[in-house]
């Protein structure tokens, strides 16, 4: 029995080692906050190549800038993970061939019947222009009467200088596309390093790709979490030693806490798909809260008694567990993951501290070590209650919600500046939307509906006809007598003075147009337009102007990440409000059941820290979802102390246990204030202020 605690840890580590292949940890922070539907849409967008595009801007329009563009493009082309590189506006050969093949169907056709006189007049004007026109204009042997015309605006949409793509007035632009998805972290990091190496020798070159956020933020995030965990561990060990001054107890406590963390981590990472590293880090810190069970037991010499259960600790534990148990079902991945982890690790810690520790023969706590309590408690519980209500009133007056969930992520300023540079200088102000249909044909038909509503939009509809329009056009061409027209042209041209037989092929290209089968759509990938087929549906991306008429179409989904997260933020706050209310209701009930007469006194351990933190928060910050979640954790912590203080037979010992427990919570969460990730920093701020509030309470409330 002496080594049972160590044996448990060892067993857990062995199980962890054996199951290491089943452990899945995700580092994608944003996926924690997005709804499932949003994540699916982003995945579709990834499959459509939306986030696989990379932009490189080279400042200036001089010779040196052109040289840089060519050198960089050449190096990029050498990379195996780069699908294509484009810096000239000239259409690709495949696209040229497509236009050649489908020209009669794609071009506008003036189908009025022309008489011989009409033909003669037009040819005469063409002949005269050869002498009077100061610009060289080639005569089209195939269509001398210019009956066909094609609007090439969509092809030549990109702004350019002398055929080279430009980024507004900033400089030249290179577009590259990779076949690596941002989720392929390893490959994305390799590509990121390769690109950095290519552009390193050049000044005034800015590179941006959406997957850079994943690579850079993940790296910053990992580093941040690593040092926060290290710092927290060192501070905690130091504090525990100071508190317990008992090496055996310290060692056993650390082993028990570590076992609880391993237990929580094992179950969570094996059974929850994409369990996030942030949830893991936060859950581990939360496990440290369980030391308050040990401290309470130790300072009340519970291990010396014969009772198997301490009611106060049990009530505290149950209230906390009920809170986390309810939150484990909230449809916000971060909160549900942390709650699930805490549920497991705190339960494990409770079991170990309650049922294993009595067998470890730990030295009894000597009462004499307690500092004599000063008579400093001056404020009645009713006063604290009223003060809390006033602080809530102040909070309601100042309350500002931060709905932008991206603000919680690592604030990558350098990448944001680069992204802004491209957005601000780009002449194209279109936003991407996903279009969905059951068949490829229906997809094109939807795209044409969009194009009718927004002529400036860019999609496959800018290049390809839908089957219905194609068939109509084909019918129109087949019905036209091009042979007669050819005869008229050749006869009249000869009379006017054109070379004999110069127009012998005129209009033959239109006599037998191509069929209406869809062409190979991959040739439009140079415009970042592709299709993707899931099990049921076809998807593509269309670039449209911001308009409600288009957003309202049922087959259109906005993939503007900011809008997407704003939408999910609103539903998150709604869920949090609902679950928060249920949790508070349950806590109030459990609190009433466990303390009864001292209800107001215990309630203040929830209300005062809550109102105190909210008042300070709303004075200095906009409140984000992590602030709100941390407030709930604070309630779960406060409630334990409320129960201990209300029912304590030895208030001095309880106070000491709470003070030490507060110190340890502060050490576990307070260090998060140093995190550069707003999500973690927010938790640090709330818990630190909350610990301060509880500390004030145990000192002043009578």
């Amino acid at each position: 029995m002496k080594y049972i605690n160590h044996f448990i840890l060892l067993s857990l580590l062995i199980i962890g080692f054996l199951l290491k292949d089943s452990i899945h940890i995700s580092t994608n922070l944003l996926s924690l906050f997005a709804s499932k539907e949003s994540v699916e849409k982003l995945n579709i967008a990834n499959n459509l190549g939306y986030s696989k595009e990379m932009l490189i801007a080279v400042k200036g329009f001089d010779k040196a800038s052109k040289k840089k563009v060519r050198k960089i493009a050449k190096e990029l082309e050498k990379l195996s993970s780069i699908k294509f590189v484009q810096y000239q506006v000239a259409p690709t050969e495949a696209l040229q061939q497509y236009y050649k093949d489908f020209y009669p169907l794609l071009a506008h056709f003036d189908n009025k019947n022309l008489s011989k006189i009409d033909v003669s007049k037009k040819l005469q004007a063409l002949y005269d222009a050869q002498f009077t026109n100061i610009f060289y204009t080639s005569i089209d042997k195939n269509d001398p009467l210019k009956l066909f015309s094609l609007d090439m605006q969509s092809v030549a949409r990109a702004s350019h200088k002398s055929g080279m793509m430009t980024l507004g007035k900033y400089g030249y632009l290179i577009r590259a596309q990779t076949d690596i998805a941002p989720s392929q972290m390893g490959a994305a990091k390799i590509l990121y390093d390769e690109i950095a190496e290519i552009v390193k020798p050049f000044d005034d070159v800015v590179v941006f790709a959406p997957f850079f956020y994943t690579v850079e933020n993940s790296a910053a995030f990992k580093a941040d979490v690593q040092w926060i965990v290290a710092l927290s561990t060192i501070v905690l060990i130091f504090i525990y030693f100071l508190l317990l001054r008992n090496v055996k107890l310290l060692t056993e406590t650390l082993v028990a806490l570590f076992s609880s963390m391993v237990f929580g981590a094992l179950i969570s990472t094996i059974f929850i798909e994409n369990f996030n590293v942030l949830s893991l880090a936060f859950g581990m810190s939360l496990t440290a809260v369980s030391i308050d069970y040990l401290l309470h037991y130790h300072f009340h010499n519970f291990y010396e008694t014969k009772s198997r259960i301490d009611k106060n600790v049990l009530y505290g534990f149950l209230t906390t567990i009920v809170a986390f148990g309810i939150f484990a079902f909230i449809p916000i991945p971060l909160i549900s993951q942390i709650s699930f982890f805490s549920l497991l690790s705190l339960s494990f810690a409770y079991v170990v501290f309650t049922f294993i520790f009595p067998h470890l023969k730990i030295k009894k706590y000597e009462d004499s070590a307690v500092v004599v309590e000063k008579k400093s408690k001056i404020l009645p519980a009713s006063f604290i209650f009223i003060l809390s209500l006033l602080l809530f009133g102040y909070t309601a007056f100042n309350f500002k919600l931060d709905a932008n969930i991206r603000n919680l992520d690592y604030q990558n300023e350098s990448l944001r500046t680069a992204e802004k540079l491209f957005k601000e200088n780009s002449s194209q102000k279109l936003i991407p939307v996903i279009v969905e249909a059951s068949t490829e044909d229906e997809l094109l038909s939807h795209l044409h509906t969009i194009q009718e509503k927004d002529a400036k939009s860019l999609s496959l509809a800018s290049f390809v006809l839908d089957t219905k329009s194609c068939k109509e056009k084909r019918k129109l061409l087949m019905a036209y007598d091009f042979t007669k027209l050819n005869n008229f042209v050749n006869e009249e041209a000869l009379k006017i003075g054109f070379k004999e037989g110069y127009f012998k092929e005129a209009y033959k290209f239109a006599e037998s147009p191509m069929g209406c089968e869809l062409p190979d759509l991959s040739i439009f990938e140079s415009f970042s337009l592709a299709t993707y087929k899931s099990e049921k549906y076809w998807y593509t991306i269309a670039l449209v102007e911001e308009s409600e008429a288009i957003q309202k179409l049922e087959f259109v989904t906005d993939i503007n990440v900011k809008a997407m997260f704003q939408k999910s933020a609103i539903s998150m706050y709604e869920s949090l409000l609902l679950f928060g209310t249920i949790v508070l209701g349950m806590i109030f009930l459990l609190l009433f059941l466990s303390v009864k007469r001292n209800f107001l006194y215990a309630l203040n351990y929830i209300l005062f820290p809550l109102s105190f933190v909210m008042a300070i928060l709303t004075t200095f910050f906009s409140v984000n979802i992590m602030h709100l979640f941390s407030l709930i954790i604070l309630i779960a912590i406060g409630i334990d102390y409320g129960i201990y203080m209300s029912n304590s037979s030895k208030p001095r010992n309880t106070m000491l246990a709470i003070t030490y427990s507060l110190l340890s919570t502060f050490a576990a969460f307070g260090v998060l204030i140093f995190s550069s990730i707003v999500a973690l920093n927010s938790i640090g701020v709330v818990i630190s202020l909350g610990c301060g509030a509880i500390f004030i309470l145990i000192k002043v409330m009578r």
Partner: protein, 162 residues
């Protein structure tokens, strides 16, 4: 101070632009006849200007768009024609600048009896068969563009205007 600064800018603009008189002979295969025009061409860092003094017509190209003036008034150009001319001007600019790497990117180069023969690569090959050119002391003197429709255009650049 502002006056001096403007004069300085004008001086820079003059130094960085090079103007030449030229004659242009076009052969139209459709009618089997030649047309001759004379004018002044100015190469600028980012574009070029062409003036036809007899017909009082001016074309200004800044590398992005072409502006056309007749008797000092701006006239609209059909977009298809403007795009064709922009391509043509880009080639002229490229030939004038003679940037070896850029030339090699767009053409296969061949030296033949003091002339350079350029065979287009990429999209240019759809409308230009080949180009002959002669340079003297690195200055473009003669260009002949053979087009796909059997037309050709000969440009003789006579002298630099100072």
């Amino acid at each position: 101070m502002q006056k001096y600064f403007l004069s300085f800018l004008l001086l820079i603009a003059t130094l960085s632009a090079q103007s030449y008189n030229f004659s242009e002979l076009r052969y139209s295969d459709a009618i089997g006849k030649f047309t001759q025009l004379e004018g002044k061409i100015t190469f600028k860092p980012e574009g070029l200007n062409i003036e036809y003094p007899k017909s009082k017509r001016v074309l200004e190209y800044d590398g992005e768009e072409i502006l056309f003036y007749e008797d000092g008034k701006e006239r609209e150009l059909p977009s298809a024609q403007a795009s064709q001319m922009a391509h043509y001007f880009d080639i002229l600019k490229l030939l004038h600048q003679g940037d070896a790497s850029e030339l090699k990117e767009n053409f296969e180069l061949e030296e033949l009896n003091g002339q350079t023969l350029l065979k287009p690569k990429g999209t240019i090959k759809y409308y230009i068969e080949h180009i002959e050119l002669i340079k003297e002391d690195k200055i473009l003197k003669y260009v002949k563009l053979f087009l796909k429709n059997s037309d050709y255009i000969t440009i003789n650049i006579s002298n630099e205007i100072h």
